[in-house]
């Protein structure tokens, strides 16, 4: 159980960044993460003995919570850039952070995961195990994801 909790704690930053990339506003994102964590914690006792990728599981739960909230409130899930910027703009949130997030959210989920994992100093061998890829594939994919990030950053599609 403690090991599962450690893995879940390690997934929290990814869940938070992912939640922010969906809703922008930090408070709203934190609410999504909290609800997602509550759901996962309730299930934690049933997950013992299973190989779990908590980063993927955590993000999927955040997505489920967000979709359910959207269905309940009939609110827009996908904000355009301008709406997203408004949602992000809070005291203490820098414009460079918002700019980075605006680009980050355009990446595929696999790219978000890969770049997030290297940002957190995971080794390629660990990432390969987590995502079921070879080390070589991880290295190539990370480079492609960074290239995609650069392209979006420069206004490309």
């Amino acid at each position: 159980m403690d090991e599962l909790k450690k893995q879940l704690v390690a997934a929290i930053p990814h869940m938070m960044v992912y939640a922010r990339s969906r809703v922008g506003h930090p408070d709203e994102a934190n609410e999504l993460v909290q609800e997602a964590l509550e759901r996962i914690l309730k299930r934690l006792p049933q997950l013992g003995g299973e190989e779990i990728n908590f980063i993927a599981y955590g993000k999927r739960t955040v997505r489920n919570v967000h979709i359910e909230k959207w269905r309940a409130s009939r609110r827009t899930v996908h904000l355009d850039d301008a709406e997203f910027e408004v949602a992000c703009s809070q005291p203490g949130i820098s414009t460079s952070y918002i700019d980075t997030m605006k680009v980050f959210r355009k990446l595929s989920e696999q790219c978000q995961s890969l770049l997030g994992l290297v940002a957190e100093r995971y080794r390629y061998v660990e990432i390969a195990t987590m995502l079921g890829m070879t080390e070589g594939a991880v290295a190539g994919a990370i480079s492609r994801c960074r290239t995609a990030f650069l392209t979006f950053m420069k206004g490309g599609h």
């Binding site: 960044v17 309940a72 960074r146």
Partner: protein
């Protein structure tokens, strides 16, 4: 090795510190001698720093992060979902349990076959649309036969719980027995003569709600002609499990 454009894999391994000292030197050499490679390396390094900044933002500056970590660390799990286990202990026959859940779920929703499984699952939260079935609102208040049938079904299906309840609260035995008699009568009675029996059933149910009979609130809503939502059933199942837990 002559000058060349660095490959995607070389670039990412270099930026992420996945190379040996010797390999890094080779890449540095390439980058110094070939402008295109140097530019690529610098760009990718900048992207890596930017994204690392996103994660630092949440882990260093967001107070929610620390509270989330505490929440996970301090979470005390119940042994394999004690609520569901309590229900399973009470109703060990899985086919019967399934039938009860289906009955509960389809009572209002009719054909929604997976509702009962949702009730057993904590992953899917009910949406508001799931909660409300407008077509169910209406005729419920005035048809004593239907009221009698619905109440009887609840009493029949929860006969094990009711028995446990009566053992825990023998003083409720009388109200439960009177209610059973009333609902049997309601199933046969003509509407014009139903009021006294409905009044009797209402008094009994109110008494049982006060006593804490699991599911009595649903029966109360049924007899008053109010809409019963899925959440009511979920609450009833929660009451059942709490009751069973507290009386083991």
């Amino acid at each position: 090795m002559g000058p060349k454009v660095l490959t995607a894999e070389e670039i990412s391994r270099y930026v992420d510190g996945e190379l040996s000292d010797y390999e890094r030197q080779q890449i540095d050499f390439q980058a110094e001698s070939f402008n295109l490679s140097r530019k690529k390396l610098e760009e990718h390094k900048a992207v890596a720093d930017q994204i690392a900044g996103l994660f630092q933002e949440v882990t260093r500056n967001d107070p929610a992060y620390r509270s989330f970590v505490r929440m996970v660390e301090q979470y005390e799990p119940r042994s394999i979902d004690a609520d569901i286990q309590a229900i399973r202990r009470l109703i060990p026959d899985s086919a019967r349990l399934r039938r009860i859940l289906d009955e509960l779920a389809s009572d209002i929703y009719g054909t929604v076959s997976d509702v009962s499984m949702n009730m057993m699952s904590m992953e899917r939260a009910p949406s508001r649309r799931d909660d409300i079935d407008l077509s169910a609102i209406g005729e419920r208040a005035i048809n004593p036969v239907r009221i009698g049938i619905e109440l009887a079904r609840h009493l029949d299906e929860f006969v094990g719980i009711n028995g446990l309840f009566v053992r825990a609260f023998p003083e409720s035995s009388s109200a439960l027995q009177k209610l059973e008699n009333s609902v049997m009568t309601l199933r046969k009675i003509v509407p014009e003569e139903a009021d006294p029996e409905i009044a009797m059933a209402t008094v009994c149910i109110e008494q049982l709600v006060q006593d804490g009979l699991p599911g009595a609130k649903i029966m109360s809503k049924i007899i008053q002609g109010e809409s019963v939502f899925k959440r009511d059933y979920q609450m009833a199942m929660r009451e059942v499990s709490l009751f069973v837990e507290s009386n083991r």
